[in-house]
Symmetry: C2
Subunit: 445 residues, 2 copies
Amino acid sequence: MINPLASPLLADLYEYTMLQSYLEHGMEQTAVFEFFVRKLPPGRNYMVAAGLEQALVFLENLAFSTEELDWLAQRFPPPVIHYLKNFRFTGDVHAMAEGTIFFPNEPILRVTAPMPQAQLVESRLMNLLNFETLIATKAARSVLTAPDKLLVDFGLRRAHGAEAGLLAARASYLAGFTGTATVLAGLLYDIPVFGTMAHSFVQAHDDESLAFEHFARTHPSNTTLLIDTYDTEAAASKVVLLVPKLRAQGIKIKAVRIDSGDLAEHARRVRRILDQGGLQDVTIFASGSLDEYQLHAMLSSGAPIDGFGIGTALDTSSDAPALDCAYKLQEYAGRPRRKRSEGKATWPGRKQVYRNYTSDGQMAGDVLALAEHDTHQGEALIHPIMRAGCRVQAQDTLKAMRQRTLAEYTRLPETLRGLDTGPAYCVVVSSALQELAGEVDRGAL
Amino acid sequence: MINPLASPLLADLYEYTMLQSYLEHGMEQTAVFEFFVRKLPPGRNYMVAAGLEQALVFLENLAFSTEELDWLAQRFPPPVIHYLKNFRFTGDVHAMAEGTIFFPNEPILRVTAPMPQAQLVESRLMNLLNFETLIATKAARSVLTAPDKLLVDFGLRRAHGAEAGLLAARASYLAGFTGTATVLAGLLYDIPVFGTMAHSFVQAHDDESLAFEHFARTHPSNTTLLIDTYDTEAAASKVVLLVPKLRAQGIKIKAVRIDSGDLAEHARRVRRILDQGGLQDVTIFASGSLDEYQLHAMLSSGAPIDGFGIGTALDTSSDAPALDCAYKLQEYAGRPRRKRSEGKATWPGRKQVYRNYTSDGQMAGDVLALAEHDTHQGEALIHPIMRAGCRVQAQDTLKAMRQRTLAEYTRLPETLRGLDTGPAYCVVVSSALQELAGEVDRGAL
């Protein structure tokens, strides 16, 4: 029985061809790999670490089923299969907490394990950390743009598969979204779930008002009506006519939703119609190809919109659908290692990040240092998470992580909070780390 | 027990709030929904239909577990839970075969089922069809740019989660890629799997030549050596020195891989080094942030590259990470329906697409027509696939579909084959369909 979300075969083939060679040549000493991002995605001033929980679950449960072993046995010799038969991840993990703001070259996860293990987990760890960090980073921009608004993830239908939809719901909630429309994310991660109605519901009725009335009767305390199927303002007027009749029966309309056209302009007109009809308490929810730039434009123009459904742009991080991230060998058999490929050179050794703050609590610069014998002032951001394959402490709830992320935003310098590229945040590479890189390059180590 | 890839809760909440209302108001008559794409993604001249197989598997296995019902029971009244308890999809599905080239407004899938069923499956059907079609469409561009080259999907690590990695491997293979690096895609879909070695393997050795030798000994008949960890040309010279020694032991080097820098320029220099060393039979494989535009540029410049690993740009469809797609109600209770929202109006009714060809077999224009009483010349592209929840015929193998896709490319007009936007392919809306839309708008139906 194969679980496609937990399978150790969720890996590039070379992880296995290398594993075979590592075993044949007795290369099972301790390897240290770090996951980091080389460059900020275009337009971003910071990143938000996410995906650690899924990475840990993957490592904890890593094991081969009979079916997987049988398939591998047709391609790899018996010693490889023997090694994998009782495979368990027995390494250490150090990481930044989810929701931590971080910058290029700062590792957010370190794996310390026998080489074949540390290598085998590369593809899936990257797959998880890249995606959730990408989405949390994208979501943070909407949260900082519209901090007081209801923000709901609407992206499942254009997310890249089921897991992307689920993890986008999780990562955006971690980054401060109010909730998601994805039901299964509510069940799996205990995220608040929001829903309205679709155009099909209106279309299936011969009369738009009747559709509104039917839907309101079914959801008497919590109704949001979709008003753009035919004519948005005409539908808003229908809502005004409908409300007194429904109120008399104890049914309350909470909001209307607009999903097409010039959302800000429609919102203004609809707000006027609702207000003139005495429906000041009915809020306006907008959706339809939104991203943080449009949120900014609409809110700047004073559009009377109380909440936003953000879908495709969020779940695909449409303007930057991947991070320039890497999971690189930094040490093997006690010796620091370094890749020097053009444009892709790495800092060797196990690392720590120290963060300093101004007197009023604003982030004031980081030091990228060696994890040992290279202590610096500031808050150490990388913590022990897993020891010999077991967690060293219980993970926080997602709600607690979300609170921490929101607190993290309050420490972000003003210059980095906007949607445009600001001056780069200062990350200094410690002199000890620079010296080590030089020594590795000279072959002195 | 919840299977996150098959759960009926892989849905937006509104599918359930609407379902509740449909049940309360006895709206269980037959609904017809169609999935189509509104606009071509930027730069694309055509799309390649994909994801039908996964959509059918989803529909066939749709059922609620106890855990899912318990969760829903806290949010929905007993009649809804009662309805869902023995829920099965009992509808019909019509669709274009996977690998069919198609254009905006042409439905590639139609669901005909009682309204609550047809509505409930919306989110996941869109999630699957959007993604696989997106990736097949992106992959087709590389296949047409480099038809005679080895093309391998390298994208798992930056795909959006596990399912995205797996389905991108499937969709790109369907569209003509040679294979994938993703091991689990090999097992699940019987796709050829390719792998080389990582920089970490070289870095873990104190000497690059020793790393090459170790890897070659482990894979004596099928070795690709990664030569860009430190200095690409120096490593190519090491390969030349190494080969005679390995040959004497019956070990063959098949290829070298370059993963950084100016790939075309390195390939030229490496080719020269290999040729001068008598290694004319060692091929060159390139990877590293590639897409179809770079393939085109490198091949146009005559770069001696025999194969390409394409990762992030493929698996995320990075220049267009989503389709402007919709799953819209076109008929309910025997009456055609139409959404008229600004910029999002749809064609009503059940539809068929007829495709015409020139005498030499080139695609010459489509007719978007009504499925009944509106027959036109040409090949009808939409076929019955599922009847009352069961498939009407066995699905082709993926290999057979891939062959059909490759044959499909030969019928694509020359003007649409390139990477730049060509003149739009002609899709005519039949007069019967236009009349129907007018009648629906006038409320005449």
